[in-house]
């Protein structure tokens, strides 16, 4: 097996009394599109910061492409591109100046061809010579993406890149990130838009209070947790509840089932019980339900 793109072993980090990371183990394979999900304060940014060397863990080890982020920091950082969650920028420079400087920090000179390519992909060409201060929030976020890519890192981590970004740009951004992934880059993504994660990520880790509470392929998570659902409005809701449904407002009752074959027998049993089906809706399993369930169980 080839080297993992990211390896996190037993990483802990506390801030005062707060345990931000409580022993995280994680491996992301090369070429994966990996999702890191969790509620606010779960420790996603802390984990990413530890990976980037911005935060020193109390214990455990982190590696990027096999390079320890502490003892072999030069190679680890060369292998990693991070798009930070906060919208930070240096107001002294134009977009192009900034990207040239960022290339230089990574030891690269004469990087303009690649910079032009990134700018074009992120629809920033027209803004290349504009000062950072004069960009809109969404444009600044795209510059953050560009900055993370100047050194062509094999591993790219995006910490909520679509917060505050309009729909069109979000789609453009995902198309671009998908292309990077197809070109062989490993992508790690955090987002609170679960449909995005579901559509993009092949594998997902869910974090809660500094622990990994679920780690599996997106498909498995969808199957394992959120089964399909059938919502029916009943004349006699009590009869539905007696058959294992969960009562909602206005006579609606929810049933969970694993495969469509179960629907037939369920409907038959409702008829036998005289529940009186008045309306019916089918729900596909989605990541949001998985997420809610995982967080409740954990």
């Amino acid at each position: 097996m080839s080297l993992p793109a990211i390896r996190v072993c037993a990483v802990t980090k506390h801030y005062g009394a707060l345990q931000a990371l409580a022993g995280v183990d994680l491996e992301v394979r090369q070429g994966e599109f990996f999702g890191l999900l969790g509620p606010n304060g779960a420790g996603k940014t802390t984990l990413i910061s530890a990976l980037a060397g911005l935060v020193r863990p109390d214990g455990g080890t982190l590696e990027v492409m096999g390079h320890n982020v502490a003892s072999d920091y030069r190679n680890a950082r060369r292998a990693l591109g991070v798009v930070p969650q906060e919208l930070v920028f240096d107001p002294f420079f134009s977009v192009r100046e900034l990207l040239r400087i960022q290339s230089g920090y990574f030891g690269i000179r004469g990087n303009d061809d690649w910079i032009d390519e990134i700018l074009a992909s992120l629809d920033l060409t027209a803004k290349a010579n504009v000062n950072m201060r004069a960009l809109s929030g969404g444009m600044k976020r795209r510059v953050l993406v560009a900055q993370a890519l100047v050194h062509r890192p094999p591993v790219i981590v995006l910490d909520e890149p679509t917060a505050g970004v309009d729909v069109e740009l979000r789609q453009g951004l995902w198309a671009f990130v998908r292309k990077l992934n197809r070109d062989g880059h490993t992508i790690v993504l955090t987002t609170h838009y679960l449909e995005e994660a579901e559509a993009l990520c092949g594998r997902i880790a869910m974090l809660k209070a500094g622990r990994v509470v679920a780690l599996d392929t997106t498909d498995n998570l969808l199957q394992r947790f959120a089964t399909h659902s059938l919502r029916v409005r009943l004349a006699e809701p009590a009869a539905g509840v007696a058959l294992g449904g969960a009562a909602g407002e206005g006579g609606w009752v929810d049933f969970a089932f694993d495969s469509y074959a179960d629907v037939e027998s369920l409907l038959a049993r409702l008829r036998e019980a005289g529940a009186g089906v008045q309306e019916m809706q089918l729900g596909e399993p989605d990541l949001e339900r998985v997420f809610v369930e995982v967080m409740q169980r954990a």
Partner: protein, 259 residues
């Protein structure tokens, strides 16, 4: 791959270039303003005191004053450069752009300090140039002048790195500047020869490393000073080495930068 050249020093050189560009782009505030300030000092003091005071016997007060002002401006601006750059980057958060790349702490330190020294030298040279028409000044030992200018700038640049990393807010940095840097420079003999002070204050001045920076610097101009230039060089050199070691240790431990 298209022309992408990597070299070990490029990271360091880029950070240095960025730090120099940062003050150069606003040189009106960072270089011209301090030069004007020093010129005002010179004009006011020369008007008030020149006819009455001489130092080391025959040196006119303004001639004595000018190197002091040059050094004071150099020191203050070297401090201002690294400290303000770091605290701004910390507060706006863009410090991460220099923390994410594969730069070592030595490169980080050297880039910030050298940029500070350069700003100090620009300002110092500016003060000297605009002051020269007003005073008679000799340049007895240019090498001593340069050595003390470089070491003084490096010391204050290091102090600026420490202060910029330590301070979380602008007013903490202002406190560092107003309660440490400013008194130490003002009481270092910029405006007077410490031989004109009572014995007690002479002794106190000798505990101030800034005194040795200015005294040694002045020796380069007049070939005369309050203490031997070798003593000054020793004090200033040791101070620099200690401060550099302290700053590097702070950086290596990630103090406040890599929490």
């Amino acid at each position: 791959m298209p022309e992408m050249r990597e070299s070990a020093l490029t990271g360091f050189r880029t950070l240095l270039y960025k730090e120099v560009l940062r003050f150069w782009k606003v040189s009106f505030q960072t270089v011209m303003a301090p030069v004007l300030n020093a010129l005002l000092f010179l004009l006011i003091f020369s008007h008030v005191l020149d006819r009455h005071v001489t130092v080391y016997g025959e040196i006119a007060y303004t001639s004595f004053l000018l190197p002091g002002l040059v050094m004071m401006s150099l020191l203050q601006n070297a401090f201002a450069n690294s400290s303000s750059s770091l605290i701004q980057s910390k507060i706006t958060g863009n410090i991460i752009f220099v923390l994410l790349p594969p730069l070592s702490w030595g490169e980080f330190y050297a880039a910030y300090v050298i940029a500070s020294v350069l700003r100090g030298l620009f300002v110092g040279a500016g003060v000297l140039l605009v002051g020269l028409p007003f005073v008679e000044l000799s340049f007895a030992y240019p090498l001593w002048i340069l050595v003390f200018a470089l070491l003084g700038g490096a010391i204050l640049g290091s102090l600026g790195v420490i202060a910029g990393i330590w301070a979380d807010k602008f007013d903490q940095l202002a406190g560092f500047q107003n309660f440490l840097i400013l008194p130490l420079t003002m009481l270092s003999g910029v405006f007077y020869s410490i031989h004109s002070l009572p014995q007690l204050w002479q002794d106190v001045s000798h505990a101030n490393p800034f005194f040795f920076m200015i005294d040694g610097f002045r020796y380069g101009f007049f070939g005369q000073s309050d203490v031997s230039p070798w003593l000054s060089l020793a004090v200033v050199g040791v101070s620099f080495v200690l401060l550099a070691a302290l700053t590097l240790a702070m950086l290596a431990r990630g103090y406040k930068l890599r929490a």
